[in-house]
């Protein structure tokens, strides 16, 4: 994809950039700073397409270095953009106005897992799955499990308040974060929250989590852990259509049993996944629900029985129960590899993230399918159905003239549909660059002004991760359509 800024950015380094680089090198060491044009390319974009080249990229390994980098960038008057693994799906880590990208992946130590206090202290660059694996050794669980957990960082999860399949029962990231060390936009280091839950005072921790890297850089995180359940039962319910499966979602939950996970995969996904991963999804199904219940052996038995009955009553053709841990892992492998599999069947695809009240799912999914068909695109759905959090993936080929624009329009129409159904424009991926202009669909001018006050109180200014979340900011308004292009994921990158 052509980047309109590329040519100008590729010009030789000017004097002030050289000075910036040399100050950063003096503070962080040569091995921790990238500044040559060819080295910066990998940091122009996130889980997406190139956007804008930064002036420099730094890899701090201490809080002091993070602070030093911020102070230097401020002195040069250039933007600062925090970045984890760059798997974000809203452009949050894209240095849209250039400046210094602060990459936290070298701060990747698990400082402490305390099984007695059930807390873990970690640096922001720790990969989500690594923390989960380490906790599992103690029979403990760090619950938030975004589908990108093999590569995304906990720092990125904090910034985006990530969810995952098990958010249904355990809540999003914010519900598991006890305390965070943060370097503020002026370089000052502070601590929000505590190692102990429910610290007194204004919940600055709660305001920070989900602020998409606009209120500071997280440099240390204390999270709450919980005991692994005694028993887990995973089921695959097979339906003739996505609408019927959607009806079942609401029926299961309103019946008084909330599964820990309730995920939907439609026919397009099944047909993409099954030939590649051989996880046992039936190729002729209209949609499947992946349902998990957990707890004591006694309750799991009863809850699983309830789920099976509810699915049957709602017209499931068949409900399979994983009989072994291996079978369970296989069923989940299909879910986790689902997005990657779309990459194998389509040159490009556009991942959407919207939320609706779950009772609206049948109507909304029917409408999503109708809108996609009408626009002439195939749409693959793999999503957190229990939370009403849909992810339509629109498949297209950017080489077909006009296709990209049509896909963007379709994406907008689907977001509008979510909002009109009482929902929201994002359930877990964030607003970032991409959805700024949709904010006005769900918030009034007064609401947005109040949100701006939070930024003002934190000193975000115009240079700390500029142009993210709010549809304001000097020089940010231009070219929303161009901004949105970064959202067109390259296939197969994130399997």
């Amino acid at each position: 994809m052509r980047n309109p800024f590329r040519r100008s950015v590729e010009q030789a380094l000017d004097a002030s950039r050289t000075a910036l680089a040399s100050d950063l090198i003096a503070a962080l060491g040569e091995q921790n700073v990238l500044w040559r044009a060819e080295d910066l390319i990998g940091y122009e974009y996130d889980a997406t397409i190139d956007r804008r080249r930064p002036d420099a990229v730094v890899f701090p390994s201490t809080t002091e270095q993070v602070s030093a980098a911020i102070v230097i960038a401020n002195a040069f008057g250039v933007p600062i953009v925090p970045r984890g693994s760059g798997t974000g799906l809203a452009g949050g880590a894209v240095p849209i106005m250039g400046g210094v990208v602060v990459v936290l992946t070298r701060m990747n130590r698990i400082v402490e897992i305390d099984p007695r206090d059930r807390v873990a202290v970690i640096q922001p660059g720790v990969i989500n799955l690594r923390l989960q694996d380490e906790c599992a050794k103690y029979g403990l669980l760090y619950a938030p499990d975004p589908s990108s957990q093999r590569i995304c960082t906990i720092g990125g999860n904090i910034a985006t308040n990530s969810g995952g399949p098990h958010t249904l029962a355990h809540g999003s990231t914010v519900n598991h974060v006890l305390g965070i060390e943060v370097v503020l936009p002026d370089g000052r280091v502070t601590y929000l929250g505590s190692r102990v839950p429910d610290a007194p005072g204004i919940d600055l921790r709660g305001v920070f989590v989900g602020s998409e890297g606009t209120l500071g850089i997280v440099t240390s995180i204390t999270v709450r852990l919980q005991r692994q359940p005694e028993a887990v039962r995973t089921m695959l319910a097979i339906f003739e259509s996505i609408e019927i499966a959607s009806e079942a979602v609401s029926a299961i939950i309103s019946g008084g049993v909330i599964p820990v996970a309730l995920e939907m995969l439609d026919q397009e996904i099944i047909r993409a996944v099954e030939p590649r991963l051989h996880v046992g999804y039936p190729l002729d199904a209209g949609a499947v629900l992946l349902i998990e219940v957990e707890g004591l052996r006694e309750s799991v038995e009863a809850d699983a029985q309830y789920v099976v009955t509810a699915c049957r009553e709602m017209g499931a053709r068949e409900v399979r129960t994983a009989e072994s841990e291996a079978e369970r892992a296989r069923l989940w492998e299909g879910r986790k590899g689902g997005i990657g599999a779309i990459g194998a069947i389509s040159p490009n695809f556009y991942i959407l993230d919207g939320v609706v009240p779950r009772t609206q799912l049948p109507k909304v999914m029917a409408e999503v399918m109708r809108l996609s068909a009408e626009a002439g695109f195939r749409c693959a759905n793999i999503f957190h159905a229990g939370d009403g959090n849909l992810h339509p993936n629109i498949m297209f080929d950017e080489l077909v003239p006009g296709a990209t624009q049509k896909v963007l329009d379709l994406g907008g129409a689907i977001m509008r549909l979510c909002v009109d159904s009482g929902g929201s424009i994002t359930g877990e991926h964030g607003v970032g660059l991409e959805k700024r202009s949709y904010m006005e669909w769900i918030f009034s001018a007064a609401d947005l002004e109040a949100q701006q006050r939070i930024r003002d109180a934190w000193g975000t200014g115009e240079r700390f991760n500029p142009c993210k979340i709010l549809p304001t900011g000097h020089g940010c308004g231009a070219g929303h359509e161009a901004e949105i292009r970064q959202h067109l994921a390259t296939p197969g990158v994130y399997v």
Binding site: D117, R118, V119, G139, T160, N161, G163, V174, N175, L184, T190, Y191, S194, V196, P197, D198, A199, P200, I202, D203, L204, G206, V207, V209, G210, R227, I253, G256, I258, G295, L296, E298, S299, V356, P357, T359, H384, D387, G388, G422, G423, S424, I425, G427, E428, H429, G430, V431, M439, I442, D447, A450, Q451, R453, I454, D456, A457, W458, I469, L470
Partner: protein, 419 residues
Amino acid sequence: MTTTTNAEALRSLLPGDRTRNVADYAIDGTAPAIALRPQTRDEVVRVVAAANSAGLVLVPLGARTATALGRPLTRYDVALDTTGLARVVEYEPNDLTATIEAGMTLATFQETLAAHGQYLPADPPPSDNVTIGGLLATARPGAWRHHVPGQRDLVLGITAIQPDGTVTHSGGRVVKNVSGYDMHRMHTGALGAFGVIVEATFKLQPLPVSTRTLAIECESFESAADVAYRLWDLALPLRALSILAPGAAEVAGLPPRVQVLLECMGGDAVLARCEDAIRREAATSRAPHAGEVRPGSFVTLRALAGTSALTVLRLGVPSSQVAAATQFATERGYVAWGHLAAGSVLAVMPEANTIAESVRALRAYARERGGFLEIESAPATLRAEVDPFDTPERTLVTSLKRQFDPSGTLNRGRWQEDV
């Protein structure tokens, strides 16, 4: 114009029957110049905006159960009673979400939800008589905290009136939402620093099939810690797991010994399993007594934690320190009990006996263990002398307050002398 005439002018903004007796709204012995109980959001807007432009200090109030929380007010002109706003705005049982007005009591809300087999899992002190606005503004954890998600975790959105009368919303009514800055988290626990909460949306939970309250008597705080930990590690479906000092046990209607008090939830088979686990644990630890106790034990302790004539301290300590911190407070003359999962220890004492030195000693103890102490209720003099909150980050609080309430209209002085 004097404050009183200014305040009087507010009266004319609302129909005559909205005026209340100021003496009923006294805080720390001071009555406001005027007390108003609006019936609609629009009436709230009018009162708040008028107070703001007249330079008056307004205090939103719900059930008035937690007025001794925070620093003493530095000024108090207008009491805004929110209990007139008590409607269910929207409740869709199949979505497990509900939007209600902030003046509704938790009890009324729970009744509405119970009719559909649902509830909001929050057990704030002193009882379900608190209003929804108060529940959020104080965000006090109870015994259920971190066994089931509480109000902090379940609030999906808030509508608040800002000091200048502007109505603002944040979040939404869907169960998962990351659009924009979570102002509802800013309002939660803020004691009305940034706006008057008039409406809130919650994610709900199914009511447990049934619950059972059980207790194990222990020889010492150490053995109670061991017992409680072994039970916690079994991953039973608990809703509460607490360690009670003898004095707290007595209040809860149990023999005055160190007790582990817990509540399990689930169907018959699950409860049988929990009882079995307690029996085994009793055998292992040679506990003199173990078994079912009256469900009111937790209710009584909860009421005690919300008794305004008492000094109530909440120590936050790591779970591993809960038993020891309970013992520490007991040895200093407090009636104390602690919740293992939440790492919170409640320590209460008659107001008259409380001295700043002992509060500071408890705070130092909690801090040494990585925790904190919050004063949840105490005489105004004590709250003026010892910071009730113990938060290290003050600069951000001050600048948020300046952004949202530049003229100090709401709850002036609650957070810091200057805000």
